[in-house]
Each structure stands twice: as C-alpha cells, then as structure tokens.
Symmetry: C2
C-alpha cells in the first residue's frame, strides 16, 4: 500500500491534500543493506515503508551495534533523534530487505501541517501510536525478564521475528545474542 492509500485508511483526505502529496512524495525502490540515513548527519526525511523492512541502530559507547527500532510494511521510520529537531543524529537507518519506500522532507511535512489541519491531525495520531508503543517498551524493560520480553515480542511482531536476524532482535530487546539463543532453545 502506498502512502496516500494508507493515509486514507486513517482519515478523510481532501483532493487538494492528495494532489500536494503526490507532488512532493518521493518513491524509491532500494536494495537490502541500503542506508537511508547515516550517523552524524541531520536526517531530512521521514520514510513510509510500502514493502520491505528497515531498522534504526546506533553504536553504543563500547562500539556495540544496538537496534533501536524496526519498521515493516505500512509503518514509518526516521532518525527520531534528528528528524524532529533537525539536529545531528547518532542513528543509522538501514534496509534489511529490498524495499519500496515513500518519503517526505522535514520542510514538506511542516508545510503540509501548516496548510492542511487534517495532516496535522494525522501527524498527531502517528505520534500517538508510536508513543504508545514506546511506553509499552519501557514497561517491558523496567521489570520484565529477558524471557518475558522475548515472548511478548514474538507475540506482537511474529513477522519481524522471522525476518530480522537474532543479533538485531537481541539488542532491540536489551539482551545479548547468546542469551536470546538460549531462551529460544527452551521454548
């Protein structure tokens, strides 16, 4: 599903908003391992994944690769530490599969917000969704064991479990690859 179709599943889209969107949206077909964004830069775009899988990650103080977020079909991704404030990022954004992505620049999004109240509403709703997910994740991190976190991840994101590598999932859950391997070995 492309971005405009997705938007229509959430709210009414006026003809003029649709026209403006089609005018500015950039659609790309990109290969696995492609980097949508690199550390140190200001992230200019927000991406909607029509097909494929992406992850954001960063290198922690010991140089370990830590997955921050996965984004699959019909979801958005961007360097959250950079895009909204338009400041330099610590994150990378990479594709884990060949993907079709649609994107808008920060300025384009801001202009759409200013021009179309429905777009502002959409922005609020998307933020609400991702905020809710992030809160759930904090709760999981706060006082669940590694095993509990893995199980609820497996329940909520069965597709990503299949498609992403063990190492990427482990760091996303805040555990090492070895621990995740052992958890999985049991059941």
């Amino acid at each position: 599903m492309d971005f405009v179709s997705y938007l229509k599943t959430i709210l009414e889209v006026s003809a003029s908003l649709e026209a403006d969107l089609n005018h500015v949206l950039r659609t790309e077909n990109l290969p696995k391992k492609y980097r949508l964004h690199n550390e140190g830069k200001i992230c200019r775009r927000v991406y909607f994944i029509e097909k494929g899988l992406a992850r954001s990650f960063y290198y922690d103080k010991d140089g370990r690769d830590i997955t921050g977020w996965f984004a699959a079909e019909n979801s958005f991704t961007t360097a959250v530490d950079s895009f909204f404030q338009q400041q330099p990022s610590k994150l990378f954004l990479e594709l884990l599969e060949d993907s079709i992505v649609h994107s808008l620049t920060f300025d384009e999004v801001e202009n759409l917000y200013a021009k179309f109240p429905e777009m502002e509403r959409f922005g609020r709703l998307m933020l609400l969704e991702v905020f809710t997910k992030t809160v759930n994740r904090v709760n999981a991190m706060q006082f669940q064991t590694a095993q509990e976190r893995y199980r609820s991840f497996a329940e909520n994101y069965p597709d990503i479990l299949q498609r992403a590598s063990l190492g990427h999932i482990a760091s996303f859950l805040g555990i090492t690859q070895e621990t995740l391997s052992r958890i999985r070995a049991k059941g």
Copy 2:
C-alpha cells in the same frame, strides 16, 4: 503558571480558543496523596500541573509498586494506557505534594482539536515532546548500567531527585531501592 499561560509560551492562542479553554478548564487545589486516577477505571481527564508533583504507577505481577512517570510544574500527566484510547487502566495517578492542577476531559480535548487547528498542533507538539523523552528512556534502559541511568536522571531532573522518595525513583529507573541506595552512597 496556569494552563493558558503555558499554552501561550508554545504558540499563538486566538481569543476564541482562550475563551473556550477558560470555559471548560477545571482548576483544583488538591492535597498530597490525593489520587487523580485509579486502576480499573477509564481515565477521563488530562492534567496540567501548575504547582506540585504527581506520579503514575502500577502494581506489577508480583505486586510491586512501579513508578511509570513523574510530572512536576508545567507538565502534563494522565493515565497514558487509558486516556488516549478511553479504555480501562492499569495505572494510578497520585500527588506527591499539595498541588494546583488544571484539567480537561477527553471529549473537551477532542472538541478543541476539531474546532481549533492550533490546538491540534499543540497536541502534536506535546506528544512529540513526551515521545522524545520516552525514546531516551528506552535507550537508557537498553544498555546502560544502573549507575549511568541514575546519573543521567540526577542531571536531567535534579528537582525530582529532591522531591520524590528513593523507592519511587528506583522503580522508575528499573532498579531496586537497595541498589539505588548503594549507588548514591558512592557518589
């Protein structure tokens, strides 16, 4: 600062929005330990703290009291697992100090969103702020030690450090009270 004054620091407030807000806003002066919201109920209101301190918490599966969030002056609080979806909550909201709070119901907020695009914008910006903080918290939880988390908490929220109890802060950071006490003992 009351809610309308705060709103004006973020964006332009039209006279008619101000009038509507003054019409629906409820202001209360409430004592320490007062419960703004209880588990099991649907949380109807979002609260702006003019003065005082609140925390949200829940009881985990072992019956331990876990602090989810603190809210002090010029910030908002509500049962995040309930208010936005208007579904039953696992959270409590309690005051840790005598407080002055302003509040709006869910319906009032929705009506304001529908009537005033600037209010929708404000909602988006507030959500963005709290989302950003929550993402930072996930990062901290993911691969920082207890000590590192305590230090950055102490840096970012020195006032809450003074005003909230050790046990509340410990569970917020995802550690036990004993561990926090030992961390603090060192420096």
